[in-house]
């Protein structure tokens, strides 16, 4: 019965008082509102697609150190989250209906104050917000002047929101190319069916100043890249279905494509593949890349990983190969790594476990069961 420190203390007090008097009764408690602790790089946003109840998708804020859920943002139907550069705001572009699943449609970006997890405001959007994978579905410009929101209806475009004016500045047709990948100062890049990257540069009013289509840098037919990209120190990186790494430097006016390198040996290629709903995680400080891999053939690109392979992105050498206890936790559905020097690796599984690992050693630190209904994407704050 006396298992905790508090319990032991009470026992001591009771023993000290001998049989003199009973312990004092507990004082009345006062119901208060919990405050968030100071922000930490070990915080994680878990995206719950609520697959059986899609009008009720949400983001859970989870602390990888205390292994506690810190709070929740209600996010509506197919939300796309974006995190302000100063870390103070979470923007969620989403869709609501006047009668739950029916009635008038409203697309809107809602802003949550990350200090209180309260909605601090909203801006109504054109009713075209992409109902798709949330990664690179919305993004802040580096100076937080604009928010970009992906549209798909099925014409592809993005909406530019002027955050100072709290109004939609306009809409940019992307000619079938998808994703909003922001780069400084006011550029947005997208992936095209032709294997090219489209980069649109905006003027100060948020209107299109110019656009540029790159040369093809991947082949949709031979080995398509996953749209689930990863931020790197200088831009973005994509994995291909066969596990090749496509780095894109977004520092200049036009994207620069790094030499493609493979996560598999010739013997592994086509047998071991990345898969799941979020297929890689990249730590910009340590330069480590984490790829969930499984044994499978063509068409298995959404099968979860049974191992996590770890790569040094400078040398392209595999430096770790960590099996997942699939029988116990399920296979990896999503993966993310914290962006600090002592990083944590987070894995959401297809049985809704959230695993926290030491990203240096692969040691399992915690397994949190029932992390929502469909924890399919993991975001750093």
């Amino acid at each position: 019965m006396w298992r905790s420190a508090r319990g032991a203390w009470l026992a001591l007090v009771m023993a000290g008082a001998a049989n003199a008097a009973p312990p004092p009764p507990l004082q009345a408690e006062h119901l208060v509102l919990a405050r968030l602790p100071a922000p930490s790089p070990h915080w994680l946003w878990v995206y719950d697609e609520a697959n059986n109840n899609e009008t009720d998708m949400r983001l859970y804020l989870y602390d990888g150190d205390s292994h506690r859920q810190l709070g929740q943002i209600d996010a509506g139907y197919y939300p796309s989250p974006a995190f302000s550069p100063d870390g103070k705001t979470t923007a969620v572009a989403t869709t609501y209906f006047a009668r739950g699943s029916h009635g008038a449609r409203t697309d809107v970006v809602e802003f949550t104050d990350n200090a209180t997890l309260s909605v601090s405001g909203e801006i109504v959007l054109p009713p075209k917000h992409a109902q798709a994978i949330p990664l690179y579905g919305a993004g802040y410009s580096a100076d937080a002047k604009f928010l970009y929101v992906l549209s798909l209806n099925p014409a592809a475009a993005f909406t530019v929101v002027d955050l100072a004016k709290r109004a939609v500045a306009g809409e940019i047709d992307t000619d079938g190319c998808v994703l909003v990948i922001p780069s400084a100062p006011h550029r947005v890049s997208s992936l095209c069916e032709s294997g090219r990257m489209l980069t649109v540069t905006l003027d100060d009013a948020g209107h299109e100043a110019s656009r540029k289509l790159s040369a093809p840098f991947f082949s949709v037919d031979k080995d398509p890249i996953f749209v689930q990209g990863m931020n790197t120190a200088s831009g973005i990186a994509f994995l291909s279905f066969l596990g090749d790494v496509y780095g894109v430097d977004l520092g200049a006016a036009e994207p620069q494509f790094a030499p493609v390198w493979a996560t598999t040996t010739a013997a592994e290629r086509g047998k071991w593949r990345p898969g799941g709903s979020q297929v890689g995680a990249w730590n910009s400080r340590t330069g480590r890349l984490y790829v969930p891999m499984h044994l499978g053939g063509p068409g298995s690109h959404k099968i979860g990983g049974t191992e996590v392979w770890v790569f040094d992105t400078a040398t392209h050498r595999r430096v770790g190969r960590w099996p997942i206890d699939v029988k116990k936790y399920g296979s990896t559905q999503a993966i993310q790594v914290s962006q600090d020097d002592r990083p944590l690796l987070f894995i959401a599984t297809d049985t809704s476990y959230l695993l926290t690992l030491d990203a240096a050693s692969g040691r399992l630190l915690h397994a949190e069961p029932k992390m929502g209904q469909s924890p399919w994407y993991l975001f750093n704050p």
Partner: protein, 176 residues
């Protein structure tokens, strides 16, 4: 005597319900249910001896882990434990609002052998937390005895009546 007091409290609450505005009633009702001074008038008191016997029979109530459904304070809770949602057993998670109205239970604390009157507030304004669902019903009564019922949404009177999670707040020692 106890019965007469109960009836008094009942009639007072009814009177409030019938003759005051919604807001006025709510704030008065809130006071009745959370104000320590009025606690001895609550009908819950009747059940406390039966409750105690029940507890003695069970005797398994947790005293250490306030995120466990077996924790002693949760003897009549029906919902998600706020401690698993960013709050604690007596605090609402960030971004939610507490319900001003509550249901009441009497729980036995094995750590000091006392029965305590608990207020089970809901935390409101966000959708179901979904973690640590806990359904215990010691002394719980059907909806016609509203102040002892945990099947209604106690966020019902909040500006935003979405139910997120439940807390269990010690109001005081139950009179013997």
């Amino acid at each position: 005597m106890q019965e007469r007091l109960d009836r008094l409290a009942e009639r007072a609450a009814r009177g409030l319900a019938r003759h005051t505005s919604r807001r006025g009633f709510l704030s008065a009702f809130g006071r009745v249910l959370t104000g320590a001074a009025l606690v001895p008038l609550l009908p819950v008191m009747r059940g406390s001896q039966a409750q105690a016997a029940e507890h003695a029979a069970k005797a398994k109530a947790e005293t250490t882990d306030p995120n466990s459904c077996e924790y002693w304070k949760f003897c009549a809770i029906d919902g998600f434990l706020c401690g698993c949602c960013g709050g604690s057993s007596s605090s609402c998670p960030p971004g939610t609002q507490q319900s001003p109205i509550t249901w009441i239970g009497t729980c036995h604390n094995p750590a000091d052998g006392r029965d305590y009157i608990m207020s089970y507030n809901d935390c409101c304004g966000k959708t179901s937390c979904g973690s640590c669902f806990c359904n215990r019903n010691e002394g719980e009564k059907p909806m016609y005895r509203l102040s002892l019922n945990n099947d209604v949404n106690w966020c019902m009177a909040n500006d935003n009546p979405n139910y997120h999670c439940s807390v269990s707040v010690v109001l005081g020692v139950a009179g013997k």
